[in-house]
Symmetry: D3
Subunit: 212 residues, 6 copies
């Protein structure tokens, strides 16, 4: 009798599961990074090949800060972590040595939420008329609204660490110095559109590999 | 003279149609279910192969309710009905025999609108502090806001039928019993994270095919 | 001992509920129709005054078809059913007597899904180069992609009934005859921009109350 | 010493650039028009093949207005201008000779913003109860909210020109005359669903190529 | 001469700033929690009263885990942190003592990204046919796609800490035990829609304050 | 007899119009700029007070370019043109005298489409590894994808004019010089986060009114 119920149950389950297994296609969409991208994200890997490992990212650890910036950014964006494809979220880890900083940059179209973990960071963003800046310590969060130019500088005595969350699975990171001085934008055009002196421009271009 | 106008007209029409026929690509996007999915839905079938049949779904009829649940769900989700791809809407039909129910479940990210057709259904959803539940008769609608845990039980004397509309072309249907007891989630982990007794868990696992 | 666990439990619950009760604000947003509208919908009623009745709509019943169109539309849009505010879904009931029709119309920005309930309806939408039209019987669904001009005509021998679901909580219903002939758009301007004869225009204006 | 800094700098840059070059995939998504479309737009061309030319559209010039409408529409939609794929914007140029007009039409789901450049255009849209119409001169803008039926007629003494911007990269242009009279929609069905006389319908069908 | 340039400059700046100061209204929208909510979030505080403090949240610290769950959730949702209003992101901190867990729950419509900070947590979510679960250590991330039922259990030897980011400024946290056993949902209805025994239901209701 | 049909018709119309007049609330949402803003835009003016004038913007004319930049931006954003509220589109007019430019700036979260009207403009945007820049003449369009740092410089012999369309009703305009040198961001912090010399910074601050 109980067996019969079980058989009937599985008849129903197979009916119910027909819609459910279809539906599970969209519960997640792990990126197939070898296929082309679309405006909404990468193609979905076949759900039958997805495993728990697709939803884990390893290596959210301190980067090497022995460099000019005395800073390192370790990203877990969709191209690093295919499981977040289409889900509108990603993360990064920030390590800044004494005296270092992540220079001025924007994330086009993504908001950034900073979680302080260790040390002290002075973080802020600017509008044409105001500066919104604070010294942050462990236990503090700071939000940089989408697309705003912002910075993070170690203002403490030792190493500083922060975790970053973004409202996009692929926020990018447009460093101002690289945009202005790291490509082949002509120096006189930069001077005209920034009011910087040409000498200053050429000086920084030498450091960031810019030509022209 | 009129003929000449017609000729000129068609010259213009062909110009106008050049943008119009391009544009019609996006007026609809019938799913090519054989191609990969993306976060925004399936690839579009070539518009030149689309016919009126792509916008029709047949078989929105009573399912077989001779089973343990005494209930049947007939879905018209994007995988059943490719014409709704990318349009943010889908439907299902609910048939519940006397004493039956659609047990607790969620649709991740989709709102459900229930249209009562026949009989009486007690439907509701819960928040941690309140139950929003009503007895529904033909002529009544009920809305289950997105992602809320909800149920539908036949509370009348005969068969009950309802039509469901969803704010997603692929709403899924996550039955709580299948999530907890239909896969290989370890029983002691279920006990720890639900406060159910292990004996109770094993009992229901036996019915829903769960292992572990 | 068990009592102590319960006390401790409620200590935790009150902590957990502090975020949960806040969060429930956004699980739903029942419209306060007396307050102003915004681009995303109406203000939310205070969650403490929301009851199960806010999620039910009564009166999804046959409208009166004794009129020129031999048809009736009974809407459950956000202004009729505040519980669907912000949820991207709504519904309507269509009753068409023998020989009647819902004339050409659009829903700006909303897709419509038609569920046949009784009788026979010929439904369709047009692009500049094609007509997508079908005779529909109970058990059939038809989808009208967003913003497309479409119609529903009773093509059977008796009454016809269909339920409609929309991908917007306020889809509107722009009847072509009312847009062209029901307001004070000048007849010569209509003639110029539709290629209809002025006599024809004035004739239909007389029926739909148009001036000018 | 400075050289050493530069070396260290490039070590960091290569670390930073690893995320940046990935991220740049999504800063833009130039359409690969040969690949299939998706609900969010076309596949992205490989970023390594993108050049400045992908972001430029040539040919936004006066169209030929020697035709029945005395008007021309030159579109820069995604199928004409792949660089706007996924960016939610597009444009068109409108040239209307003396006495001409762009007849009644809709853009399903896209808002249109008209910028007057030359001459005088009377533009407007209608709701069932009101006409929102104005005579526009250079220096004026007019907005047609999404999905509304609207028209533009030259009401001045010479040529008129306007630029149009749309809130979609593929807004379409559904001309009412083509929807009703340019395909094979049966004349009696048109009569029933528009209240036009069959003679009038057949008359206009002859002009727009409609059959049936 | 330089002075004149400065004067002219400020003339231009005032022109440019007229649009810029308007625009800054939308660069951020700090919530006015005393005004009503809308489907897109709270009303914006007047930008002239916004200071850097609006973008900081203090108190992202360990919660008290001396309770039945041996766990604590510290939320930084929009109702706790008005600066994230309308930005589609929020955060929480999770502290779980030895043997504790955050029981089964969902966030309707929000994806959750977990960043491991200390100890070991076993985290996972389930579909009807699979369990996606992993043991996580510092340096690991895990993503729970939107609306999925999931859990986090301390599987290590000491305290465990994780930071959570959500793709919504108000993700909620629907604990399964509270939804089923913490309100006045009738026990026989729970039994019918979960397949749990009534005795088991009443037992857990006693712990979570449920009536009926 | 015909009269009777008309009476019956108006009975139906009043039924149909009950939903239609409600629906028209959402066909557009003209901003009430005196009420607070929300994340989705301003409150809607009462539809009964809306007239055709709400959909027109006057003053899209050449601005005064007699200033340091030799350039003028005339905006038609939502705060200038309430009729575009909630519609995801806006416009601006650019006039640049010989030798002038609109310096480096971003629109957070909005794409910009430039329509060349007169003269010659060199326009472009940069990623860390490439410059996408072109000389534009009348008949050319250029698109700046959302959030990218970009510029427009008059590279011709006379005046240059362009019209701009944005994929947001409130795109803002974040001029880099104002963000860095127009507020009270400390000079040493700017130096640290841009690699500019302090002397250079102070020099430009003097021109843009910056302190600190």
């Amino acid at each position: 009798m109980i067996k019969m119920i079980h058989i009937l149950l599985f008849v129903l389950l197979s009916v119910l599961l027909s819609s459910i297994s279809n539906a599970s296609v969209n519960d997640f969409c792990v990126a197939d990074l070898k296929a082309p991208d679309t405006p909404s994200g990468y193609h979905c890997k076949s759900p039958t090949t997805v495993t728990a490992d697709d939803f884990v990212f390893h290596g959210f650890v301190a980067g090497n800060t022995t460099n000019t910036f005395n800073a390192a950014l370790t990203s877990a964006f969709v191209t690093d972590f295919p499981g977040i494809n289409g889900l509108g979220i990603s993360a990064a880890r920030l390590d800044i040595a004494h005296g270092g900083s992540i220079p001025m940059h924007t994330h086009p179209g993504a908001t950034e939420l900073l979680i302080m973990v260790k040390g002290e960071i002075t973080a802020g963003f600017m509008t044409p008329t105001a500066v919104y800046s604070k010294k942050l310590k462990p236990g503090d969060l700071f939000v940089f609204p989408q697309g705003q130019l912002h910075f993070q500088a170690n203002s403490g005595k030792g190493q500083a660490t922060a975790f970053l969350a973004f409202s996009s699975s692929n926020p990018g990171a447009q460093l101002l110095d690289l945009l202005l001085f790291g490509n082949n934008l002509p120096s006189d055009l930069i001077a005209q559109t920034t009011f910087l002196d040409v000498a200053q421009i050429k000086n920084i271009k030498a450091r960031f590999g810019g030509r022209g």
